[in-house]
Subunit: 453 residues, 2 copies
Amino acid sequence: MEDVKRPWEKLVELIEADQPEQVKEYLQSMKTEDIVLSISRLEKKEQLLLLTLLSPEDAAELLDDIPEYHATDILEEMESSRAAAIFNELDSDEQADLLTEMNEKEATAIIEQMEPGEAESVRRLIKYEADTAGGLMITEFLSFDKEQTVGDVVHELRKNAEKYEDYNLQYIYVTAHGRLEGVLQMRDLLMASLQARLDVIVHSDVISVMDSATLHELINFVNDYDFYGVPVLNDDGVLLGVVLRSDILEAKSELASIELLETQGIVGGEELRTMPVLLRSRRRLSWLTVNIFLNVLAASVIAFHQDTLSSIIALAVFLPIISDMSGCSGNQAVAVSLRELSLGLIRPFEVARVWLQEFSVGLLNGIVLGVLIGAVAYLWKGSLVLSLIVGGALMLNTIVAVSIGGTIPLILRRFGADPALASGPILTTITDMFGFFLTLTFASLALTHFGTI
Amino acid sequence: MEDVKRPWEKLVELIEADQPEQVKEYLQSMKTEDIVLSISRLEKKEQLLLLTLLSPEDAAELLDDIPEYHATDILEEMESSRAAAIFNELDSDEQADLLTEMNEKEATAIIEQMEPGEAESVRRLIKYEADTAGGLMITEFLSFDKEQTVGDVVHELRKNAEKYEDYNLQYIYVTAHGRLEGVLQMRDLLMASLQARLDVIVHSDVISVMDSATLHELINFVNDYDFYGVPVLNDDGVLLGVVLRSDILEAKSELASIELLETQGIVGGEELRTMPVLLRSRRRLSWLTVNIFLNVLAASVIAFHQDTLSSIIALAVFLPIISDMSGCSGNQAVAVSLRELSLGLIRPFEVARVWLQEFSVGLLNGIVLGVLIGAVAYLWKGSLVLSLIVGGALMLNTIVAVSIGGTIPLILRRFGADPALASGPILTTITDMFGFFLTLTFASLALTHFGTI
């Protein structure tokens, strides 16, 4: 175990020895995975010391790798002039992401001390929502006026080769007064003569998106077209930036990951265990406290049937089983609906279709699970009536659970609510109530009929 | 609603009217989203008819858009010569993905009728696991011998412009006897003279991956380096193909989505509701039947305390609440651990660290939830002892739940098991047992002490 722990201990040693060169070398030798882990393990003052030791370029590269929460946390503690120097070196989309996460006062102070060009561009970018084309785009792209020639482009590329080193130069955009006219690939330039005017060789059937396009639209766009980066335009057709395919896919994968957190009851954004305990506790409680009242509501069904329960105390053993198993069956249906919604294989209004498809699976699984739990009841108590009560209740409630689980995400989506977050609690409340009601009603009917079971 | 339903109805009309041109035109006017949905709604024979109406090129494009399960399902029904013609038009990674999903006899028949070059390349590709560099790579890349010149490249690009239309030509690979020597970007060629030999201008510090690299390694690779596509080599350093950044990110996002299905109990691969009912039922049951026996195990704790329960029947109302709430708290901790594991912010052996971080949140949330449920008990029954029993049990069990929920994914990962799949059932079984045990033991102590409560 000592071996695996070493990276951040070694890093702290080097930081405390105040050896910038060695720190830099050591960071370069590390994998991003280890860097992310190590930075998260440093004390706040060690993190600050580290970013001060590094050049703004290297500090920017480091911040680019670590989670945003950690990056803003360090930047907020830093002198704003120093932070501004680091921001100057970040990609434009990263600048905007971090600044919108920071407290406004700090952010404003930093922007004021950034290079005028960078500051102007970031002021424009932070106005966009993060998950829109405007929020995802980078402003590092290459555009030339349509009257320029291939030779002009080659000249510009040679002259500023260093600047363009980090640019993604798959495409060259051709504009007229800032308005996008068309696109050229590098290979088009390679195959043309140096004298050729850009408007002669340009492909004018260029695809583009509006700066207000949502992530959902961009994900569809990725499916509809093959592209490496897509130009982003404002209402007037002016070229503002480029959204890279890989940035859309990163955002999509982040979305799936946030959905996973939500279905398990982590709300209000991601949770990292390095966040303050009170914040973590509060966010988790906001979901748990809603849930506990839904649970009390469901359990009130049991309270209404206490007499029945006193007569057949064995039922108390089966109530939590029926509640949990129905929740499991229902959550399976929720998961399939969430996935089919995100793949576009069902539409929010197709409740009846989904219900039919779930019903058949629910019937089969209900029979199997009902027989299993009935067998357990019979083996334990030797009572056929008891086994019919619990088996029948679980069978019927499995059908109820998959019906609700399959359809509730569609209904929530239709009403604009977030299905990943709300489906679970709504599902379990209804299936608990139904499960308890079925079990205890069957039992009370049996009691009326047989006197005892 | 009629309006939104139209796409596949219109498509069926055109297919049945046997009008290839109009079908093609209509498909081209549709968004990918609508195509995916429409194809999934066609009858098997309509799907077959559609693919026969289209040219192999257009059919290939269509298959590229729809889920693999649907694509293989149609292809298996098709004459193998016709299917082979379509396969010839697919990208190499897509060919391999579909063929490995098909039944072996059909797949072999198709490969035998593909173009010899395509068949040879796909025979090599299907040997790789899907989630490795070999399985994800495409073989459509451009490579030149190091002794060739920039002029040779330009000549080749001009001569076969049409063939390279669909290639991603960000990089040109430079080889010697098939072995990768270095890489050139298009812009390097643009800035060099036509007479320059490739080995003079080549960048030889090229990054590459082995064909056996796992998806996990590739995801780290994406984080470590900026690249558009990375060359894939075999043990001898021979260039086999290229893995695109966007394909790695797609696979990553698919992984997050599968993880979401697994945590909710969908196992054995994705489920689409268009799959056969028996298959869907069997896959879901394989998880549910394990769960029901774990549930019986947990509930057996109640069975051992039936006497206590008969004396204080109100407890039966609270047992399911304590079970469900502890499950919720524990699952939140599971979700955070799954995410921190995938972000590389914790390592599987850091159980003690995670436990400490969960304990503090568990203590806070336990107190809040315990007080809430205690208050409900007091308001309902007016018994301070009852409210202390259920409040105390939920408080303690919340701490137990977050401790287990936080650490179990790490422990499972350490033993090579899939934490997304197994964490939930293990968690709820243990927390149920503990919750029931705490509640009923407190109650029986209270009964011994006070005689009644």
